[in-house]
């Protein structure tokens, strides 16, 4: 595992930065707005902590950049990083879309008619298991940002990295929440 504490520190740094950017803009935000801002800045901070080395992070940044109002935040958080990262994030989605489409087309074209014969129990069980796995893979793809464009192997690797980052994010947010509670409780 990568160093979790350094990841957390990086994440926290960027998150606070992002929150300041968010908070300086508006006043009297509703609770939902605040929550969204917090979450958004947290997600972007987490993704940028990966320095664009992972696909899901690039996908997150790309998705966030789609909305103009987030662009400022994204740029602010990514300022220290290279411009290429931002560009690659933005272009990533388009490229991946095409790739996925091409793949799917090829897959379908090469897919011959499925002959359904009377199969043995073993084969039937295998096919059922396969279908289950495919279904779950689809669900996982929907969970991991940018996962729809990855193949199985990449998906699992991205999931690994994503889980690790999510864990760090949850830890940091939890401690911050507790601290705030403690402080406010005084």
């Amino acid at each position: 595992m990568r160093d979790p504490s350094s990841l957390k520190q990086q994440f926290l740094k960027k998150w606070i930065l992002g929150l300041q950017v968010c908070g300086s803009g508006k006043q009297n935000m509703s609770i939902l707005e605040r929550k969204e801002a917090i979450k958004l800045s947290a997600d972007i901070a987490l993704a940028s902590a990966r320095d664009g080395r992972t696909r899901w992070s690039r996908a997150t940044i790309a998705n966030a950049s789609k909305h103009d109002d987030n662009k400022v935040l994204v740029q602010h958080l990514l300022a220290p990083e290279s411009e290429s990262l931002k560009k690659s994030s933005i272009g990533l989605v388009v490229r991946d879309n095409k790739r996925v489409r091409c793949k799917k087309i090829l897959k379908w074209s090469c897919c011959v008619k499925r002959v359904r014969k009377s199969v043995s129990q073993v084969v039937l069980a295998k096919s059922i298991a396969k279908r289950m796995v495919n279904r779950k893979t689809r669900v996982l793809k929907s969970l991991v940002p940018g996962g729809e464009f990855m193949d199985d192997i990449c998906l699992i690797e991205e999931t690994l990295d994503y889980i690790e980052s999510l864990r760090a994010q949850v830890d940091v947010m939890r401690t911050l929440a507790k601290a705030t509670e403690l402080v406010n409780g005084k």
Partner: protein, 562 residues
């Protein structure tokens, strides 16, 4: 799925990880396969994957592969804690190859971290030209200029060197470089070869079958008879991924095999590449035919089991080479490299197995797979198998990460657990962000303020703090660098305060963190804020400073917080 894999392979170019990954994987699988002396190579590919990930980490870095970081984490883990015997065996072999186990481990560890970029580029450089030659430039070749600098960074990784050497093997002229005094350990030979090789990657695929055979033979003569023969047999023999005689592989053979890797290039690389999952469709028919033939031969050789490598191997190799070349002639992919392969296959029928069969042609950027004994040698099934093994390899890592998955086996259930875990983590993030939103009316996380207030007001220093204080100093050195950065960005104008003040605050902080769920990690988290805390506490005594500190925040906030 094979089609999709192929498609993916072709569609995902240049920067995509999979390509580099696969290419490196193909490479690594070749030589690793050879070098492992594991009898039952059912996991033949698994160790390669493990080790490949290490190798891959280097490749990945250059290609901005997403998994590079993952690989990095995997790499050291694998080197240090080989989880399966194969890894151990491989490590052992590596140790032999490198003539010092410590080097292996050190190299493995240092590999991804120290010279990753250089190695990446070098590797890519080494791989790319062959790839481009093969498939018309699927991979963007890296600037050859990279080589000179990166050469010095070549890790003393025998596998790495073997791969590099492999490419150069195709060029018969380079064999001279490869010939080394045999006093030098195998790995050293590979080193020099690799070094020499890297300079002429462009010629990798130009070498014809004859050339490679002759080169192999030349090499053979130079090298130890036994090992040389292995090499030749390896190269000549099979790329075909037939039921390979994993059982027959012994350490000696594996050693030789690793050398064979380099020579392989000469041997019918085409066969291997075709056998590999991602080869072109046209070649596959020939491949399968060739494979089938080779398979039979290898099967026979397998039956003989662990023939000692000796001078006869040389003849065997030559003999093998001819039948393979004959069969391989129709295959045009590898520019007539079939010859050695065919000869080898013929010879294998005669004599014991060469062990070399396990090696796949490294020439291609394809993943070279060796069909296990008794398994289908169809390229599709091979590709499927490789893919399955890769996926299962990664699932193992996920098992460690996701709590409660250690007892679970099977993809579906594992995926279920993973999905649940990711969903729960995402929900937690949502919940916590909502919580933070409610707690902070103005989105101003005045952490310093929070901490300072807590510290100032909570004078209690529970005895548990003493336990934590020991952790603090450890966290300090790592955080000292980050703190100034944080302060600089978050609070322009605030500079670091005295360390003494920081430490006192820290020691007081630890009791606070004791109540949290993960106190061990908290000090790290809080250390960033510690700085703020220090400043805040400083600011409390000097209101003007706090104003500066809170400059970016609403000035009234400070009062509210405190």
């Amino acid at each position: 799925m094979d089609t999709s894999d192929k498609d993916k392979f072709e569609l995902e170019k240049s920067n995509d990880n999979p390509i580099n990954y696969h290419s490196s994987g193909g490479m690594s699988s070749d030589w690793r396969f050879n070098s492992t002396s594991i009898p039952n190579s059912s996991l033949g590919l698994v160790p390669t994957d493990n080790l490949m990930s290490v190798c891959r980490g280097d490749l990945v870095g250059a290609a901005s592969c997403s998994s590079s970081s993952v690989i990095d984490s995997f790499g050291p883990a694998m080197w240090e804690h080989p989880t399966n015997s194969q890894n151990l065996v491989f490590c052992d072999i590596n140790a032999q190859n490198i003539a010092s186990s410590s080097n292996t481990v050190g190299i493995g560890k240092g590999f991804p971290f120290s010279s990753r970029n250089g190695i990446d580029r070098t590797l890519e450089m080494g791989w790319n030209p062959p790839n481009s030659m093969l498939k018309g430039g699927i991979f963007l070749p890296n600037a050859p200029g990279m080589l000179p600098q990166s050469l010095s960074q070549f890790p003393a990784d025998s596998a790495f060197i073997e791969r590099a050497a492999r490419f150069s093997c195709f060029n018969g002229g380079d064999f001279g470089d490869m010939v080394n005094p045999f006093g030098v350990p195998e790995s050293m030979g590979l080193f020099s070869r690799g070094g020499g090789m890297m300079q002429g990657p462009g010629e990798v695929f130009v070498g014809s079958g004859m050339k490679s055979v002759s080169g192999a033979q030349t090499q053979k003569n130079v090298m130890n008879a036994g090992e040389a023969s292995k090499d030749v047999s390896m190269s000549a023999d099979h790329m075909a991924t037939e039921g390979s005689p994993l059982k027959n592989e012994t350490k000696r053979e594996s050693l030789a095999r690793s050398r064979d890797e380099s020579k392989k290039g000469a041997g019918g690389s085409g066969n291997d590449s075709d056998e590999a999952e991602f080869s072109g469709g046209s070649g596959q028919d020939e491949q399968s035919m060739l494979e089938g033939n080779c398979g039979e031969l290898s099967a026979k050789s397998l039956g003989s089991k662990k023939r000692k490598r000796s001078g006869q191997d040389a003849e065997l190799d030559q003999a093998k080479g001819t039948p393979q070349s004959a069969k391989g002639s129709p295959e045009t992919q590898q520019k007539g490299d079939q010859k050695p392969a065919s000869t080898t296959s013929k010879a294998s029928g005669k004599q014991g197995k060469q062990g070399s069969q396990g090696s796949d042609q490294p020439k291609d950027d394809y993943i070279h797979v060796r069909a296990r004994r008794g398994q289908a040698t169809n390229s599709h099934s091979l590709a499927e198998r490789v893919r399955r093994e890769k996926i299962s390899e990664r699932m193992k890592f996920l098992q460690d990460l996701v709590p409660g998955c250690s007892k679970v086996t099977g993809k579906a259930v594992m995926l279920d657990e993973i999905i649940n875990y990711v969903q729960s983590l995402q929900r937690q993030v949502e919940f916590l962000s909502m919580k933070l939103a409610t707690v902070n009316p103005r989105l101003d996380f005045n952490i310093e303020g929070l901490l300072a207030k807590d510290i100032l007001h909570s004078r209690a220093v529970p005895p548990s703090s003493l336990a934590f204080s020991s952790e603090m100093p450890m966290a300090y050195p790592a955080l000292h660098q980050s703190q100034p950065g944080l302060i600089a960005t978050a609070f322009p104008g605030m500079e670091s305060h005295s360390d003494i003040l920081r430490r006192t605050i820290n020691s007081q902080l630890t009791p606070m963190t004791a109540g949290f769920k993960e106190p061990a990690q908290l000090p790290n988290v809080w250390d960033d804020e510690l700085h703020n805390v220090v400043q805040m506490s400083y600011g409390n005594s000097a209101p003007q400073d706090s104003q500066d500190v809170n400059e970016p925040l609403p000035p009234g906030h400070l009062k509210v917080e405190l």
